[in-house]
Symmetry: C2
Subunit: 197 residues, 2 copies
């Protein structure tokens, strides 16, 4: 049991480093960059509160577990903003390969049974095929949009995002798992883009 | 549905402010103070990973939900460190009353059904009587101890904590819900206190 606890605490202490990984978006008040640890908390809270927007067959507790671990690979790889490099960096083969290696290392700190289980849950999130993963991925796109609305533009201004880019990179993915949420956000995001012509 | 989503997003945007509430303890690398948002994420991850340490009748998914919301009242009240004011401030009647008012306001932003459910879950955590709440409260004491060990003293140095104080304020509460974890931590915390006589 002591060895098992030592492995579990090695993982939990390593996970602490996610609090030092900075994202492109800011807090809702614009005061500073958000880090990936607090982002993961906020997203899990999104899942808890927006559970009634999930499609058939979604297990919200499984979605919450998925969101708690979804960004741990960023400890090694960093955050790759969805609008950076004109939208081409996020999800590139090179980034995916680096994230897979990071997953091996970080989940590999855990006892073998837990390492396998959580690495599989992370891979399921990344693949975005199961109902749980589709909803989790949608929420991962929802939270920065809500943050940009609150912050008065945020990363849309930073990266010079256009409305068609937001619809293709973000809106279509939110709509896949949470269409009503995209409808709600769309109406509140559009005026920012309209005001910039 | 639009009104419901508006209430849910009002709550989720307000919750963002928890990322600006600073705690007494630092990150594991000592680089800066931890905030209560990222603390809540880390604790939920503790519950996920240390689930096999939970006592009979504990529902880990419920514990995770509890930990995701347990500190939201700090948006209004701030964090009250367990070792501050020589251990007397945390849990005082004045703090408890302020936290109850904060819970009314913050959970009250949600649609009524969700407000009642999450406020009750928070009250259950605070009462620390059910198996889920006892385990959740234990983990809330575990994480700062693990952080202080990693940081080489942390808040034990800040507040001049003695070994008997750690055992009474923290150890006894961890042991109530997670005795094996306290055994593991105790062996790794004691040397820091022994070295200071």
């Amino acid at each position: 049991m002591t060895d098992r606890l030592s492995a579990q605490f090695a993982f939990l202490t390593e996970a602490d480093r996610l609090k030092s990984v900075l994202r492109a978006n800011t807090l809702c008040d614009g005061s500073r960059a958000e880090n990936s640890g607090e982002h993961s908390w906020h997203l899990a809270l999104y899942a808890l509160v927006l559970a009634d927007q999930a499609g058939p067959g979604v297990n919200i507790d499984r979605v919450i577990r998925m969101l708690l671990i979804h960004d741990l690979v960023e400890i090694d790889v960093g955050d790759v903003p969805i609008h950076s490099a004109d939208g081409t960096a996020h999800g590139s083969a090179a980034v995916q390969a680096a994230e897979a290696r990071a997953a091996d290392r970080i989940f590999g700190l855990l006892p073998a049974d837990q390492a396998a289980g959580l690495r599989a849950l992370w891979a399921e999130f990344e693949a975005a095929e199961t109902p749980d993963a589709v909803f989790a991925k949608s929420l991962d796109r929802v939270q920065p949009v809500a943050g940009n609305i609150a912050a008065g533009g945020g990363t849309w201004a930073t990266f010079g995002v256009t409305w068609p880019q937001l619809e293709s990179r973000v809106g279509s993915k939110i709509a896949r798992g949470a269409p009503q949420i995209w409808g709600w956000l769309r109406a509140r995001a559009k005026p920012w883009f309209d005001a910039r012509g």
